[in-house]
């Protein structure tokens, strides 16, 4: 039995926000694939739960009139992978979450939970970073919008405050149109494993030169990160092996890998440089480019 002390099944967004405001210790439970494991391990910080599983509106995936792609915080990874709108406009998000755990976990786990838990290895984080997704958040004071850029504030920490409910992700058209994007997860096992390094790139081309590169990593610093130096190094460069090598060199200034039982710092750096090239190349090819 899970050591839950208080449990409230929310009936509406307003009801969830009210329940969260009433109890400072209350935490949201979505798919539960992190929360229930924390509880199983006896952690004290998830004993008061506000359950959002009945809020079907938070499961919605759609495109709005302004061309924003909306992904509900409660949409399961499987729903995201299979959804037409995701496939057509932000396929890298589906590609990224398709690397999470096994089918049972993907059927329950949500992108909302994956971002809100603040994990430095979260598979959806790189894809969210290269598309600069907005997070639409509600609390007792009302609604606000935060960017994914800067949302992760430290290992396991995000800029959500007690009482905050993430409602959905919003990808603005300028952040996905004309971009080719790609995610690669390097892990020790082929499935059911946390990333040793995760890496996504989004590339926009101007003819055969890179007009914009967005490069993001997980497990390469204390939070998922974007790589300003490498991105700058790519600007206006032709699609050549030399450009890829320059990007791989520049990325060293952006990352701070460390040694853990999964991999040493040196090995991580090697994977980081290798992936910078692989992922940038593929993203550029998906944007319609050809390498010389």
């Amino acid at each position: 039995m899970f050591p839950i002390e208080k449990y409230h099944m929310a009936e509406s967004i307003q009801d969830a926000v009210r329940a969260l405001a009433e109890d400072e210790k209350a935490r949201v439970i979505a798919g539960g694939t992190d929360v229930l494991i924390r509880l199983h391990e006896g952690h004290g910080d998830y004993r008061n739960l506000v359950d959002i599983n009945n809020l079907d509106e938070l499961r919605e995936i759609r495109m709005d009139e302004q061309g924003n792609v909306i992904i509900g915080a409660l949409a399961s990874f499987t729903n995201i992978i299979e959804h037409e709108v995701v496939r057509a406009h932000v396929p890298v998000i589906g590609e990224a979450v398709n690397t999470v755990g096994g089918p049972q976990v993907r059927n329950r786990g949500t992108m909302g939970g994956n971002i809100c838990n603040g994990a430095v290895s979260a598979d959806s984080a790189c894809a969210a970073l290269v598309h600069e997704v907005d997070l639409v958040i509600e609390n007792a004071e009302g609604e606000r919008v935060e960017s994914i850029i800067g949302f992760h504030t430290g290992p396991g920490r995000v800029s959500l405050k007690p009482g905050d409910l993430l409602k959905h992700f919003r990808v603005r058209p300028e952040n996905y149109r004309d971009f080719g994007a790609c995610y690669y997860k390097y892990a020790m096992r082929e499935a059911m494993d946390i990333a040793t390094i995760g890496c996504a790139a989004a590339v926009k081309l101007d003819g055969e030169t890179i007009s914009e590169l967005r490069l993001a990593y997980t497990v390469s610093a204390p939070t998922p990160i974007r790589c300003a130096t490498a991105e700058q190094a790519a600007k206006g460069k032709p699609l050549t092996a030399a450009t890829l090598a320059e990007i791989a060199q520049a990325v060293e200034a952006d990352v701070k890998p460390r040694t853990s039982w999964r991999a040493s710092m040196e090995f991580r750096l090697h994977v980081i440089r290798t992936l910078a090239q692989r992922v940038t190349r593929q993203a550029a090819e998906r944007a319609g480019g050809t390498f010389k």
Partner: protein, 159 residues
Amino acid sequence: MKKQTINLTVNGKEFTLDVDVRKSLADVLREQGFTSVKQGCGVGECGACTVLVDDVAVDSCIFLAMWANGKKVRTTEGECKNGKLSPVQQAYVEAGAVQCGFCTPGLIMTTTSFLERNKGRKVTREEIRKGHAGNLCRCTGYETIVKAVESVVEVAEEE
């Protein structure tokens, strides 16, 4: 801790239960006699507790019983109709994919959902493996399990 009343069907039969909100679906199903639902790890790693909720495969050890309210649950007991094994169950027997059998009920439910999701479509061996990555087996080495699955799905030419 408060109890809540939930209505669900398990293998086609309706149940109204007063469940403790702290309980997992795996616990509640076992209490109701569906002991094919095994608990190995209790943390979503091994898949022994896999059941289908509205035809979607979930690890019932990390699925609150509350969440099954109004839903249709399937366990391997219900796949066997009038004493006749389902094609998936039969395939596991014929391929010798069962040794101690602890993982088998969960795997059979995963295969059942894999089969239903891929109806009318050819799948690759790679897809079979990825589709079963959430289930661990201590005994078989997986080869016989993949063979069992191959015998019930349409397999594409080797990739």
